[in-house]
């Protein structure tokens, strides 16, 4: 043990206290969110059980939806994703697949699978985009339009899809995400209750290393990945959607309609200028922009998050790829918070300004920095004898189970609502909860730091990760 100077000692005391207070605030936040999530999940579960989906399915008055699926170098996933979108159980949909200048076989795969032929289509140029190279219509599936355009990023591709969209509601998805057949139905049934006010909706989508399995005949419900990194990512999403976003939605300040699956009202998206290519990712920024516009103009609106699992998206199977992806998420959060800093604690922005933005600023943007400072502080406190090993271990234990609680709550709420996982998957997910702090958080912390560094450097790259290895795909390629 090293004898610290009195100044150092005071500093360490202060730092340890600040760490504990920050942790306590986070715990209070998690507790509050947990309670709200329970209320919201219970409400949605009961609503789901009594909802007459059949009448929505058969109604000629169901609001039509344009599904926009941008993709860039998604040779492997493009066809199954488009197929899963065409198989949506909903009265009226159109699917607009936008190939954002892929350099692989994405477009030829779509042309071959859906028997596409080139056509000139004169569309509404509501939003500026990179030039369209060619439009294809399917000879076999009249609801499908494939647009081939010059590369401009996901936001640009979405805007291009919006220009082609015929209907009032847009379902904006990722080109590597596979959808359950009721994905559109579930969200639109909620939206149809109040279409004048609900301008955006999100829903829970899970992480899978091979999401295309959801479209296979043998698919019998979601399972865990039997892969630690994949399962931690899935639990992360489950926690985010089933706990936190559901709670934010309950409070009417849901701050992120994710890019993997997001419903938007077309007129609102066009009015705010479409998805912005200036940001690393488009989803969170669009949500902030819509909030900002609606609240500034004092217009009635709602953005909701639904707890049901509608899709599976591919998560990276390697740590380096995960770090790259999460660094991008951290970067876009920082870019967005910086862009909308004027909303911070401004009462005119109501709950969004007073709760949503401050939460993102304090606990999402600063989290990586604070975690590192806490780690260093606690280590110094031990080295200088301010904190004993027993206290340190107790703190670690407290954090491990404290982190596991929201995860377990998310598993509990999801299972109460949908009963779709097998018991062995539930056991695995529950047991992974306390390990999250030791095996997964450090990766996220590192990714967060990388994201902060990239943001400071002005990096705007997408950092798309290579697709995971598929034994079956490899076998087909070999054959």
């Amino acid at each position: 043990m090293i004898d610290p100077s009195p100044g150092m000692l005071s500093f360490l005391h202060g730092a340890v206290v600040v760490t504990l207070v920050y942790t306590a605030i986070l715990a209070c936040y998690a507790l509050g969110m947990g309670i709200l999530a329970i209320v919201e999940a219970s409400f949605r579960r009961k609503q789901d059980h009594v909802e007459d989906y059949e009448s929505v399915l058969e109604s000629p008055y169901s609001i039509p939806v344009s599904i926009i699926a941008p993709s860039y170098n998604e040779e492997l996933m493009a066809v199954p994703v488009v197929r899963s979108l065409l198989q949506q159980a909903y009265p009226t949909t159109e699917v607009i697949a936008v190939d954002d200048g892929s350099t692989d076989g994405t477009l030829p795969a779509l042309i071959e699978e859906f028997d596409l032929e080139p056509r000139q289509v004169f569309y509404r140029s509501s939003l500026e985009t990179k030039p369209v190279k060619m439009v294809y219509k399917s000879r076999t599936e009249p609801r499908l339009t494939v647009v081939s355009k010059e590369n401009g990023g996901k936001a640009d591709a979405l805007n291009c899809g919006i220009n082609f969209a015929k209907y009032r509601y847009l379902c904006c998805v990722d080109g590597d995400t596979m959808f359950a057949p009721d994905a559109v139905l579930k969200a639109m049934t909620i939206i149809a209750r109040d279409p004048a006010r609900i301008v955006g909706a999100a829903s829970f989508f899970g992480i899978s290393l091979t999401p295309e399995t959801i479209g296979e005949p043998s698919y019998a419900g979601p399972t865990t990945n039997d892969h630690l990194l994949g399962d931690f990512q899935h639990l992360d999403m489950m926690r985010a959607f089933v706990d936190y976003r559901a709670a934010w939605s309950r409070m009417e300040c849901m701050m992120c309609v994710s890019g993997g699956y997001g419903m938007w009202r077309r007129d609102v998206v066009v009015e705010v200028g479409g998805f912005s290519p200036k940001f690393t990712c488009e989803d969170i920024e669009m949500t902030f922009r819509v909030h900002e516009r609606m609240l500034r103009e004092k217009r009635p609106y709602r953005i909701v998050s639904l707890p049901n699992l509608v899709a599976q998206t591919e998560g990276p199977s390697k740590i380096s790829r995960l770090v790259s992806q999460r660094a991008r998420w951290q970067r876009v959060t920082l870019e967005t918070i910086w862009e909308y800093r004027r909303m911070f604690l401004r009462p005119s922005y109501r709950k969004v300004g007073m709760l949503g933005v401050p939460y993102y600023a304090l606990f999402e943007c600063l989290a990586p920095l604070f975690q590192v400072v806490s780690l260093v502080t606690l280590l110094l406190a031990i080295v200088f004898g301010v904190l004993g090993w027993q206290s340190y271990l107790a703190f670690l234990g407290l954090m491990a189970f404290g982190t596991a609680l929201p995860t377990t709550l998310a598993v509990a709420l999801h299972d109460r609502g949908y009963r779709d996982y097998r018991i062995r998957d539930l056991v695995r997910m529950i047991l992974l909860g306390p390990l999250d702090l030791f095996l997964y958080r450090p990766i996220l912390m590192w990714a967060g730091l990388v994201g902060v560094w990239e943001w400071m450097r002005g990096d705007k790259r997408w950092n798309k990760f290579d697709r995971n290895h598929r034994p079956r795909a490899a076998a087909v390629a070999t054959a």
Partner: protein, 421 residues
């Protein structure tokens, strides 16, 4: 100093650790136990279902069958059975059995109180359950529920009213079109699927002073079986002061009496409201599509085609769809718009000609050495000029024309530009 600080902190941290660990353990155990109990109940329900569908149970006298079913359901918690009666995710016959059991076990009087109460989910469950053996008061309760501010309660009431399927239920739903806070489209969806004809109930609404009532009456009547004078009673609504009513009337007439609709729609092509103009185009296209008379289709196309120059995108789009529906025989009327001074009309006409197959037909002719008529070549030339490079590229790719000199010579002389969207 450090030790004193640590000594104060350590018990707190240990206590916090123990508390969170125990809480996690309890929560985790609850998740698994709850799931195991659910699985057991589910298995039990499957078993009950199997027994209920057993012909021997169905053959039992009513009293014996009821007691047999009751004995089966008695193995489930009472509140569970009550909730199951309103659960749309399970089979109707299980719901019915659960409802009958709940009414017997809980008592109709208490369920009626629940159905009129303020506890939302219990109210919904009671409304669903009572519908299987409707007491006299149920319609009034459903009427109140349909007018409720809570969309879940109102939506449940609409579902139950549709399931009741009687005249009084229909009257309540139709009343809800005017007064309920639930979006009228949700109620209309139930009326669309109503098990009895509703024309006599909807018809008086055509003269209702409220435009919403007239709108929904016209909309819902479009699928009514043809009754004397029904179309005639909708005709005046095509000139209604309210634009959505005019639109609904045009669409209803198009479905009921396309020829009458076409005559009225022609004058509505100049309506102020874009969606009425679109509906007029739809009505005209519907009449033309069904007409075996080529000259009639061409006359209709000639009236639709100028809408390709409409200032609203939705109307231009409707015009393109309308011309396509009329088929290749209207290519001349469409091609006439290639000479329009309006850019939208020119490129819209080019797109329609492309989708009608007119361009492909001419290019294939050129490629195969069969000389198309000068008029066809002229239309191709003007369409490709209006459609721009992308249209020419798409046409060549689509027709899989090899570099045929005739095609290339034609494209070269066009001096194609990128066409503005």
């Amino acid at each position: 100093m450090g030790t004193a600080f640590d000594a104060r902190l350590e018990p707190l941290l240990v206590l916090g650790f123990a508390a969170t660990a125990i809480f996690w353990l309890l929560l985790s155990s609850w998740v698994l136990v709850d799931r195991a109990l659910y699985d057991r109940r589910k298995r039990r329900l499957v078993e009950i279902g199997r027994q209920l569908s057993d012909p021997r149970v169905a053959a039992l006298p009513d009293a014996r069958r009821a007691s047999t079913i009751g004995a089966m359901l008695a193995t489930l918690p009472r509140h569970e059975v009550y909730r199951l009666a309103s659960n749309n995710e399970i089979s109707p016959w299980v719901r019915e059995a659960c409802a009958a059991y709940s009414i017997g076990r809980i008592g109709a009087a208490r369920m009626l109180r629940d159905a009129g109460g303020t506890r939302k989910w219990r109210r919904i469950s009671a409304l669903h359950a009572l519908a299987y053996d409707p007491p006299a008061e149920l319609h009034d309760l459903l009427q109140r529920a349909l007018a409720d501010a809570d969309p879940d309660v109102a939506s449940a009431a609409a579902t139950v009213l549709q399931r009741l399927g009687d005249r009084r239920a229909a009257e309540i739903l139709i009343g809800g079109l005017r007064e309920a806070r639930l979006p009228a489209s949700r109620i209309a969806a139930r009326l669309e699927r109503f098990p009895m004809p509703l024309d006599d109930l909807l018809r008086p609404l055509l003269a209702d002073p409220r435009p919403e009532a007239r709108y929904w009456a016209a909309t819902l009547l479009r699928h009514a079986p043809h009754r004397d004078g029904l179309a005639a009673s909708i005709v005046p609504l095509a000139d209604d002061a309210d634009a959505p009513v005019r639109k609904a009337a045009l669409l209803a007439l198009a479905a009921m009496s396309p020829e009458d609709a076409a005559n009225i729609a022609t004058r509505r092509l100049a309506d102020d409201a874009p969606y009425v103009r679109s509906a007029a185009i739809h009505a005209l296209a519907q009449a033309g599509e069904r007409s075996p008379d080529r000259a009639r289709r061409q006359a209709i196309a000639a009236s639709i085609a100028p809408a390709l120059a409409d200032r609203e995108w939705s109307v231009r789009s409707a015009a393109k769809d309308g011309l396509l529906r009329l088929g290749p025989s209207v290519w001349r009327e469409t091609a006439a718009q290639l000479s329009s001074t309006d850019g939208f009309a020119r490129n819209g006409a080019a797109e329609v000609l492309q989708n009608l197959g007119v361009l492909d037909w001419t290019i294939r002719g050129l490629a195969s050495g069969v000389q198309p008529t000068p008029e066809a070549i002229d239309v191709l030339r003007r369409a490709l000029r209006a459609g721009g490079v992308a249209m020419a590229d798409a046409a060549v790719l689509r027709t899989e024309a090899e570099p045929i000199p005739a095609v290339h010579e034609l494209l070269r002389t066009l001096d194609l530009q990128e066409s503005a969207q």
